[in-house]
Amino acid sequence: MSNYAIETDQLTKRFGDVLAVDHVNLRVKRGEIYGFLGLNGAGKTTTIRALLGMIRPSEGNVKVLDQAVGPNGRGPWAQVGHLVESPSAYPELSVRENLDVARTLHGIRDSTATTRVIEQLALVSYADRKAGTLSTGNLQRLGLARALLHAPALLILDEPANGLDPAGVVEIRELLRTLAHEKGVTVFMSSHILTEVDQLATRIGIIHKGQLIEELDTEKLAGLRANRLEIKTRNNEAAQISLQSAGYKFALKDDTIVIDSDYAIEHPDDVARILVNAGNPPIRLAVEQENLEDHFMKLTGDGK
C-alpha cells in the first residue's frame, strides 16, 4: 500500500482546442486534508471528474487508493465518497429513499447506514421529505450524506460548502476535520473560497489555467499565516546596518525590510527606537500577515 491516496501522473484533459487540465502531477497523502484551490474555470472540476473516472484523460494516468482509474468506470469506488459540482437528487424520492438508492448501489444491506448519515448531516426533520422540495443547502447536505454513506476511506468533494449557511459551513468543516483526524479519512476538496480551504486543509494545491502552479505544505502554510514586521526608511542600506548591529535578522523584499522574529513583532517600538537613534527613522513600520488570499492573488495575477 502506497502512502498516497491520490496520484496523478501528467494528467491532461483537452476538450477540443481547450486545454482544461495541463500535465497535473498530484500526490495526496493518506489521511491528509488537501485543499484544491482555483478560480472558476481553472480546471478543478475537470480534475475531480478525472479522479472519479467520469472523464478520460487525454494524457497521463490517475491512481486512486492504489488502483488505476481506468476507462469503463474501473476504480476503487467502494472506498470513495464523492460530491461533484452542484448537488443533485431524484426529486420524486424522499431524502431517505435517495440515500437508500445510493446504499443499494454500494451493496450495503444494513439500512442503519442511511439513518446514521441522516443524523450525521442533521437531515432528520427532512428524512421523509421529497428531495424536490429541499433548499439548496439541504440538497448539499444530502449530497454530503451520500458521499459519507459507505464510510469511505477517501472523500473527493467539489465545493462542499456550496449553498450552506454560515453555521452549516462550520458544521461541515468540523465533520470533515473529525473524519480526517479520528477516522483517518483522506479528504480532497476543491474550492474557490480561500478562507474555507485555509481553515481546514493541511496541504493546498493551487490550480490556474489547468496547471498546478503551487503546492503549499503545512510548513509553508504556517509561514503564510505567520506575522512579520515590515519596515521602510528613507535610507534602507543604513537601516540594515543599524538593525544588523542590534542583532536583528531580516530580509529585503523590494524596498521593504522584513523581520520575522517574535521579539521584533512583539516589540516594534524597540526596532523604531534603534532606527530613530541612528538618525534614520522609519517612514513605515507595521506588523503584517500575508494571508492565503494575498498569496493566491499574487500567484494567479490578481485573479485575471
Binding site: 472523464i55 468506470g73 469506488w77 424520492l93 443499494t104 451493496g107
Partner: protein
C-alpha cells in the same frame, strides 16, 4: 454482472415513484377508449351520419364494429403508434439522469455501469409490456361494455399474441432511443430521433422497402399496410433484432466510454 439486481431494484423504485408511470397508463388507456367511441358510432350508422367527420374517421380507423376490427385497431396502435408512445419510457429512464444531473451519482460506484444500463433496459421492457397488457385489458373491458359481435376464444388468443408480439417488435427499436437520450444528454435528441424514424418508416413503407427498414417492420407486422405475410419476412425480423442489439451495444459503449460532464 456486478450489482445488476441492486441496479434493477433502484430503477424499479424510481419508476414506481415517478409521475410518468401513471401518465403513460392514462395515455395508453386513451387508445382503447377512443376505439370504444368509434365502435359506438359504427354500431349506430344513422347517428354516425349525422356526426359527419367523426364517423368517417371511425370507419377509416375501425371499419366495422366487431371484435376482429377492434383488436386490429389495438394491434396497429401498439405496433405503429408504439414507436412514438413507447419511446417516452426510455427517453425518461435514460434522459432524466442527464437533465436532472443525477448521472454523476451512477458512474463511480461498485455497481458497474453495464449493470445500471442493463437494469434500465430491463425496466424499459417490463414497463412497455406492462403498458401493452394494460391497453389490452382496457380494450377487453371497453369491447365488452360496447357489446360488439365476433368474439371467440381463438380470436382472443390470436389477438393477444399479435398485440404482445407487436409490442416486442416495437421494443426492439427502443435501444436507439436510449442511445440518443444518452448521447444528447436529455430529452430533445431522442424525441427528434423518434419522429425522424417514424417519418422515414412511412417513406420506406410507401416505397416498398419497409421490410428492410427496421422502424417500418412493427407497423407492417400489425397489418396496417396490408396482409403481413405478403410484406415482411424473416429478413425483416433479423434486421429488427440486429438494430435492437446494435442500439443496446451503442448505449452500453457510450456509458462505459464517453466523458460525463453533467
Amino acid at each position: 454482472m456486478n450489482g445488476f439486481l441492486s441496479a434493477l431494484r433502484v430503477e424499479i423504485l424510481k419508476v414506481y415513484r415517478s409521475k410518468v408511470l401513471p401518465f403513460t397508463a392514462v395515455g395508453f388507456s386513451l387508445i382503447p377508449l377512443a376505439g370504444g367511441l368509434f365502435l359506438i358510432i359504427l354500431k349506430d350508422p344513422e347517428a354516425a351520419k349525422s356526426m359527419g367527420l367523426i364517423s368517417t374517421k371511425a370507419q377509416i380507423t375501425v371499419g366495422v364494429a366487431d371484435w376482429p376490427a377492434f383488436f386490429n385497431l389495438l394491434a396497429g396502435a401498439v405496433a405503429a403508434g408504439g414507436i412514438i408512445l413507447f419511446s417516452i419510457i426510455p427517453i425518461w429512464i435514460f434522459g432524466r439522469e442527464f437533465s436532472e444531473h443525477t448521472v454523476k451519482e451512477l458512474l463511480s460506484l461498485p455497481t458497474s455501469r453495464e449493470a445500471i444500463v442493463s437494469a434500465k433496459f430491463l425496466v424499459t421492457a417490463i414497463w412497455t409490456l406492462a403498458l401493452t397488457l394494460f391497453l389490452f385489458g382496457v380494450g377487453l373491458v371497453v369491447g365488452r361494455l360496447v357489446v360488439i359481435p365476433g368474439w371467440s376464444t381463438e380470436l382472443l388468443r390470436a389477438a393477444f399474441s399479435d398485440i404482445m408480439l407487436g409490442a416486442v417488435l416495437t421494443l426492439a427499436t427502443m435501444p436507439f432511443v436510449a442511445f440518443f437520450a444518452s448521447l444528447g444528454r436529455g430529452y430533445l435528441l431522442p424525441f427528434g430521433w423518434t419522429f425522424f424514424t417514424v417519418f422515414l418508416a412511412q417513406i420506406a413503407a410507401r416505397l416498398g422497402w419497409g421490410d428492410w427498414f427496421p422502424w417500418s417492420v412493427p407497423a407492417l407486422f400489425s397489418g396496417m399496410a396490408g396482409p403481413r405475410a405478403e410484406i415482411i419476412g424473416l429478413h425483416s425480423y433479423i434486421i429488427l433484432i440486429l438494430t435492437g442489439l446494435l442500439g443496446l451495444g451503442a448505449t452500453l459503449y457510450w456509458w462505459r466510454s464517453a466523458d460525463q460532464t453533467r
